[in-house]
Amino acid sequence: MEMISFNPHDTCNAFITTQIQAPFKEGALSGVPIAIKDNICTAGIETTCGSAILKGYIPPYDAHVITLLKDAGAAIVGKTNMDEFGMGTTTESSAFGPTTNPHDPSRVPGGSSGGSAAAVASGMVPYALGTDTGGSIRCPASFCGITGLKPTYGRVSRFGLIAYANSLEQIGPMAQDVSGVSRIFSVIAGHDTHDATSVNHPYTHNPDPEKINGMRIGVPDEFFGDGVDPAVSTVVKEALDVFASKGAELIPFTMPSMRFSLAAYYVICTSEASSNLARFDGIRYGPAIDTKNRWHDAFSKYRHDYFGKEVRRRIMLGTFALSSGYYGRYYQKAQAAKRMVREDFARIFTDVDIIAGPTMPTVAYKLGEKNDPLQMYLSDILTVPANLAGVPALSVPCGHIEKMPVGLQIMGKPFDDETVIDAAYAYEQEVAKNGR
């Protein structure tokens, strides 16, 4: 087996685990190094989800996407840092310390795939896998100035992704540019017989910059309203003008369902998480539970000691939302909101090909700045609709505000990730041509 050496100078704490010698096979990605977010199972390599409760856990199996990458010849060079169990927008809640933004070490890289974004942005690796439940690929891509794609729900297998919110999340590629994202996406997309929610829809597309001509681009009013930094709005609007200059038509519209989407998102993801995270009991994996005590006492102490505060907070919220007497009020109403969001997107997509706007309401915050949970949750406002609707969504860098990157978000019709990539590629190529 051939090996590559990997010994990065990891000043931003992007990695939890690095493989100093990473093996690889023959294939389309032969010898290409790729970093993997630490909530994706890698056989024989510690997988922690950024949590103390999985410290030392060595999965005995590879996630499906890992098998695909290895079969294509990629070299898995390390596991990247993340908000604990994917719960966060800054990578500050990791049990292994925060990751810093390569553009400014006093700022966060975004989250929860902050480690993957920083690893790519700092040039340690050309590609990384992240996961996106409510914006966790797009947010760090935006804050770190790289490109990241959340695929259409079901296009990439979730088998081996340690679940946070099953009905919302996807694994997706992160790279310096759109071609890179497209290249990795072509390897990981496709049906998996182990994942009943995965769909038979492989990706074999080459990004086409000409498709932008004549494209109808929806611009949602709500994405440029209150809660979005005016400076960000300005930069993104300039990016939209680039589309117009390439022959696309910009069509404004409103999305009434936006009012409900953040609450619906948090009800659904915390509910599913409260169930998904209940299995960590120290019996079969993770630090050993105290077997000298009584089950109930040992179990609550274990979870108190090894889960971080944000995780425990979300588990409680989700438990509450599912509990008897509240299920109808929260979970079932969140389902109504989810349907509304889907219908809104479907309605808009009868008239437009893609939707574009900012990825995040601001540029990257300072470390320690977002310390109120609700304030943190509100920063997901622009990214969660795509997860609720299951549509593809990508973030591509579109400028800076005082040296900090701004992300342009492009969303597409279900299973039309191809058009999203084409639009992003057209933008990127045009900007590169003009030397921005």
Partner: protein, 89 residues
């Protein structure tokens, strides 16, 4: 308004061990968050939406189980091939 009693109750139900020092903080935060969730009150209750796909099934074929050592490899404690857990009584 989410009281400390509510936090204790949910903490027990979720089995995440909430201690005294956290009660105040959690009740303030939960109140804010649940107040925000109230926007959902405008909506009707609905079942989880289903798509157009059904009956995703696998054939009844046996595939190899994990080797016993591998199954127990990450175990906290084991005894005579069993996983060891705290007593349930």
């Amino acid at each position: 308004m989410v009281s400390k009693k509510d936090v204790i109750h949910v903490g027990k139900l979720a089995d995440v061990g909430v201690n005294e020092s956290e009660l105040e903080e959690f009740s303030v935060q939960f109140t804010k968050i649940l107040d925000y969730f109230e926007i959902l009150d405008e909506l009707p209750e609905e079942r989880t939406i289903t798509g157009e796909t059904f009956n995703i099934l696998r054939e009844d074929i046996i595939t190899p189980s994990l080797n016993h050592e591998i199954a127990l490899k990450n175990a906290g404690e084991e005894e005579e091939g069993f996983f060891k857990a705290p007593r349930v009584m």
